[in-house]
Amino acid sequence: MHLIGELSAVLATALFIFALYWMNDPKTARHGVIAGIVGMTVAVVATWIQPEIIHHGWIIGAIALGFVVGVPLSRVPLTAVPQRTALSHAFGGLAAGLVGMAEFFLWKSGSSTVAMTPFRMSALGAEVILGFLTFTGSLMAAGKLQEVKWIPQRPVTYPGQNVVNIGVLLVAVGLGVAVVLNPGAAWAQQAFLAIAALALIFGVLLIVPIGGADMPTVISILNAYAGLSAVAMGFVLDSKLLVTAGALDGSSGLILSIIMCRAMNRSFTNVLFGAFGKAQPAAIKGEQKEWKQESVEGAAQLLEQARNVVIIPGYGMAVAQAQHKVRELYDALTKRGVTVKFAIHPVAGRMPGHMNVLLAEANIPYSALVEMDEINPEMPQTDIALVLGANDVVNPAARYNKGTPIYGMPIIDADKAKTVLAVKRSKNPGFAGIDNELYVGDNTWMLFGDAKAVLSDLVRQFGSGGIH
């Protein structure tokens, strides 16, 4: 019996690892889901068949209810996926917290077979704190994302906020330490309940100061917390399976939040303890537009997912002598089934036909080159416009701003594309010396750097993405 338990734990662990490993590649990812389901089933069955489990009806009932709620929850529209994930974390946190409470009271009531070592008691405390803070925190996050009325969507900040938050947490931890040191004390039970309450409050406080843009990062961190609470539960229940699965979850949440922070140019420490508020105000204050930066990884991902891409080369491509890299990108994208066109503006570059000379050198077929007048009607259906060292020729100011030298010049309507990726080295203007609002457009993401270097990176991303 014990052997079956151990082996099934190993098996389930291995299956979970493979589940994540297969997520490497869209081709194998669905195998991953199956591995996960099988692993979970193995774990559940192995636990269930243990002789001490006797109230099967209760279990069946709870599981059935889980299906009843879970299935509809998996049918939410894709736009609601973030909320669903947050809600799910809440459930996860709740489960961990409740089990922790149950274990504590079981032990208190003396009906537990488990010896309550200080280590285990610490784990129990951690489990409860992490579980409950994840619960309310995730609920709040879900609420904000779903734009539930009575939850403020805007970040709510007040002076001393961080002090309050950390204070609440510290009190909870302090109580936990007290309980660990005096597990038998009469007040231990009350203290434990207080810990749970404080954790619930802390979860709310944690999310209150956070704005919508940071939500995905927060959800990812909550994911890590949920995982850690499972680890703690594993320590309590003496289950290596829980520890591994929790650790996998924890590390995945961690990595994802780090990646997201990086993509948003935020420091990870800044996010770790709810001090999100700080960077926010600037964005809220005025309607002043901001340059948003995208990482090369992110850009590669966007390009991969696009159905059609329009590349708009300009003088910067020429200066960087990036034409051969452009060809590599063209090859990589067309190989993936993405339709790629080049939109050539009549005055792109610094001489008539400048772009033609370079693109022909790189052997881009003439049939891929499209004139401005032909491409413009297609721009609104374009998934991604890749502006490559072009500036004036995609400057919407030409349409209406009589004060600028380029007023009246027909431009390529890059701004009408669903997403714009723009490569240039700096925030400097182009030939005409004027600002370009395209770069701060809602759907525009900058890739700062020399065009040749940026394209090299992009192409390498494709190359490496394909292998592993």
Binding site: P26, H55, W58, I59, T85, A102, A245
Partner: protein, 92 residues
């Protein structure tokens, strides 16, 4: 009964694996990845089953049943939505 050292070992090793495996997940798949790990983290179900199903006082078992329900919801919706999202990647 496993000793503390082993648990620590297992935790450290599993974390390494998690970091290693996740780092290599395709950028395309971060969203489904999140829901998949979310489903997997519902492994807490194991604890809930024990609490619910063993011969414990009623209150405890109620706590357990709620936890079990919550975990199960996670498992079901997590795996299903992951699969739903992945189905959309037919292109490659």
């Amino acid at each position: 009964m496993t000793d503390f050292g082993s648990m620590l070992f297992v935790f450290v090793l599993a974390t390494f694996i998690g970091l290693g495996v996740i780092r290599r997940v395709s950028r395309l798949l971060y969203t489904p990845l999140m829901s998949l790990t979310n489903a997997i983290s519902a492994i807490a179900v194991v604890g809930s089953i024990v609490v619910t199903g063993a011969d414990h006082p009623l209150t405890i078992r109620i706590l357990g049943a709620v936890a079990l329900f919550a975990s199960m919801t996670n498992i079901v919706s997590g795996f299903m939505i992951t699969d739903r999202m992945l189905k959309m990647f037919k292109k490659q």
